[in-house]
Amino acid sequence: MGISALRTEHLSKRYGRLLALNDLTLDVPAGEVFGFLGPNGAGKSTTIRLLLGLARPTSGRAWVFDTDAADVAAAHRRLAYVPADVALWPRMTGAEVLDLLARIGPGTDTAYRDELVQRFALDVSKAAGTYSTGNRQKVALIAAFATRAPLLVLDEPTSGLDPLMELQFRQAVGVARDNGQTVFLSSHQLAEVEAVCDRVGILRAGELVEVASVAQLRRLHHTEVAATFTGTPPDLTGVHGVHGLHADGAATVRFTLNGSPAAALRALADADVATIIVREQSLEEIFLAYYGQNAR
């Protein structure tokens, strides 16, 4: 078992009567790209604010590389953060903000920073007051990726970026991963999470409902199968792993498959299969299955 980049134990946060985060216990090993998924209001930003010491937990604790998260001076030497909505001093230029963040931050690779400025096509000579939401986000992203801090905490960092910049973002996450940096990426964009994350945690109404690798998450869930037959379809009732069986016309059956497909494949092999379509559910469908009714 390697070291943890980020660890929480029974972390909770209450705002008045609202339990924004309920008993979160999580461990993100160093070097992992971890996706923190949840719809708006699930408690993602709250979690991150607790991890950063910007808000105080109602109960529970958190660690950044075995430093208590409350010990900000030490913990923040090993992380960089991109907030969900970036606010800057309007009269400072982008370059000045980057300079400030580099000089008070945990150490910056200025050559890489300049490269990132190019890649994200940010005009850093303009005053921040003239920047769009996306441009402000770019400033924070460039500052964070350029730190090479061992942990990057990103809170919905691409909500203001266009698709081209989103691509640059994914590349930068890839570079960070190759450098051995840990990335904690809060998001509600599944395609993004699917593209860059090793593992995801799913948060619903302040509770962690699942932690799994993206592949596992799919495997845990159903595979959809539709098969047509030249002759009479076989009776698959009671075959191991087959659920939701229904006939679709005389020659087609549809069902969903859970777990090992061996038994179902044997049963199909005995019949004259004309076509077969096997489809994994998308992360989106899995996500919707989690949030079905009472999503918050």
Partner: protein, 533 residues
């Protein structure tokens, strides 16, 4: 059908409701202070037989006129009250009005809270107009309450109503000025700075216009000059106040027009497209605090410096006049200005006033930290290896040092003025007199830090309380001859008249101790609480 109509009637209501909620508490306080103080001074007035020749001498002395405005109807409770409280209350109302105007418009926009509001059917211009419209009601209430309070306390209705109208017009004018500067500048601090410059220039123009007969026309260009020109309880002129009201209405309309011509989050005065980076003072948290303080400090120093230079220039004329007319020395003492007869006494009395701007300055600087937090600008700093303790310590230390600088500038400016007219104030005495107000400034720093830790939305008000509130407390207590324990509640009661007398070491230490306790308690709160937004 009904639902659509209800929905159509809604936006203005929503906007007005929003505006009312943001200003009602401050409006109540300002109204209570203006009405209460006016009534108390009317009630506490006891007339002294003044001989007409002496009164004429008083009214024509340039120094008296510069400092206090043209003395009119001093033999009347109403006239005395206007003379004693008029400028103070007009400045209080004006400052509140312009700050409230920029806070509720540019400030809300800055903090991103208008994004949702303006994504609907409401236009930016409409939002600005509604907010300023609600705010414009406040000065009218203040004026009405003041007039009613004075009438109730037993002076003429005409003079009281005119004075109330004058106050209302000044308040309205500064609502409009705040509204216009909030459209012109992209940041709230720049808008406030520009509006404050209008206020200070208005005050100085009034002083010069009153002091130099050849420049008397200048008073027509200043809101405070126009207020004085109405001469309530004397000739009761309506024209100046009407002019001021018209100017205010025109400026209000201009604010609406300007809002219609700009984008959300942008300003009429465009920020320059591109410029080379200025990387000085970005290396550490304290350096960055200095960087953000330099610009306001320069502006404040210019305003305060000019004011105290002017006070220095009239020092000799004032002291000579009071030595020659002892009956007015007694009267000045009743008005809270004892010992104006010697240059040291004069300096001591006027340096005490310096505590007000110095205290307000530190309060405003820490309020800027709260505003940065509220607008989420501090998030990136505090995500760096920077503890809240270090941030607060840096900001408080820089604000305190900047206030010391400001106090020193005032000390030197008044000394330069007195030296120009050979009034005989030594540089050492000047600096000692200026530095004498440091404990009150520290009290403000302590109060502001305390507020930052526990009620970050009220930093400016609570921080300014020891200086601005203490000053008005003392003025009122002096005017009504309140018992000494009531006077003692104001920190000004504990300032020795330096350089006329030796500094009050014990009182200064006690004030510094209270300030330190405030800073410590504020730090505890600041470290424990959640950061807002």
């Amino acid at each position: 059908m009904i639902a659509t109509m209800a929905a159509a009637a809604r936006p203005e209501h929503v906007l007005r409701g929003l505006a009312v909620r943001q200003v009602r508490r401050g409006a109540l306080v300002v109204t209570a202070v203006c009405a209460g103080m006016s009534a108390l001074v009317v009630a506490g007035y006891h007339s002294e037989a003044l001989d007409p020749a002496a009164l004429a001498a008083l009214a024509s002395n340039p120094a008296i006129r510069t400092l206090f405005g043209e003395p009119v109807a001093l033999d009347h409770a109403g006239g005395f009250t206007v003379w004693r409280t008029g400028t103070v209350l007009a400045v209080l109302l004006g400052v509140w009005a312009m700050l409230a105007a920029s806070r509720t418009t540019r400030g809300e926009e800055d903090a991103g809270r208008w994004g949702l509001l303006l994504s609907g059917r409401i236009t930016l211009a409409e939002a600005v107009r509604q907010h300023l419209g609600v705010l414009a009601v406040v000065p009218v209430l203040v004026g009405a309450a003041t007039a009613a309070a004075m009438i109730a306390a037993g002076v003429d209705a005409t003079g009281s109503l005119l004075h109330g109208t004058g106050l209302a017009a000044v308040g309205l004018f500064f609502v409009a000025v705040g509204g216009v500067t909030a459209q012109l500048f992209v940041s709230r601090s720049a808008a406030n700075g520009a509006a404050a410059a209008v206020l200070v220039v208005g005050l100085l123009t009034r002083m010069v216009g009153d002091g130099a007969p050849a420049l008397a026309w200048l008073r027509w260009l200043s809101p405070f000059g126009l207020l004085a020109l109405t001469r309530p309880f004397d000739s009761n002129r309506g024209l100046p106040v009407s002019l001021l009201a018209v100017a205010a209405v025109l400026l209000l309309a201009l604010a609406g027009r300007l809002a219609a011509r700009r984008d959300v989050g942008a300003a009429i005065l465009a920020t320059p497209g591109s410029r080379p980076a200025r990387t000085a003072l970005l290396g550490s948290v304290p350096a960055f605090a200095v960087r953000r303080t330099v610009r306001p400090l320069v502006a404040w120093s210019a305003g305060i410096g000019a004011y105290f230079l002017l006070l220095g220039l009239i020092a000799r004329s004032m002291t000579e006049f009071l030595t020659g007319n002892p009956e007015f020395a007694a009267m000045a003492a009743q008005a809270g200005f004892p010992a104006l007869g010697t240059v040291e006494g004069y300096a001591a009395t006027l340096y005490a006033l310096l505590a007000v701007p110095a205290g307000v300055f530190v309060a405003v600087r820490l309020a800027a930290v709260a505003a940065d937090e509220n607008a989420r600008r501090l998030t990136l700093l505090l995500a760096a290896p920077v503890t809240r303790l270090r941030l607060l310590a840096a900001e408080a230390a820089v604000a305190g040092c900047a206030a010391l600088f400001l106090i020193t500038v005032a000390g030197i400016a008044m000394w330069a003025g007195t030296a120009t007219v050979h009034a005989g104030l030594s540089a050492g005495d000047a600096l000692a007199g200026a530095w004498n107000v440091v404990p009150v400034m520290l009290l403000c720093l302590g109060a502001a830090a305390l507020a930052l830790g526990w009620t970050p939305r009220a930093v400016a008000a609570i921080g300014a309380l020891p200086a601005a509130g203490g000053f008005m407390w003392q003025v009122t207590a002096d005017s009504i001859g309140a018992p000494s324990w009531i006077r003692a509640l104001s920190p000004f009661a504990h300032l020795a008249a330096v350089p006329a007398t030796a500094p009050a070491g014990v009182a200064a230490s006690v004030m510094a101790g209270i300030a330190a306790a405030g800073v410590v308690a504020g730090t505890v709160g600041y470290r424990r609480r959640d950061l807002s937004a």
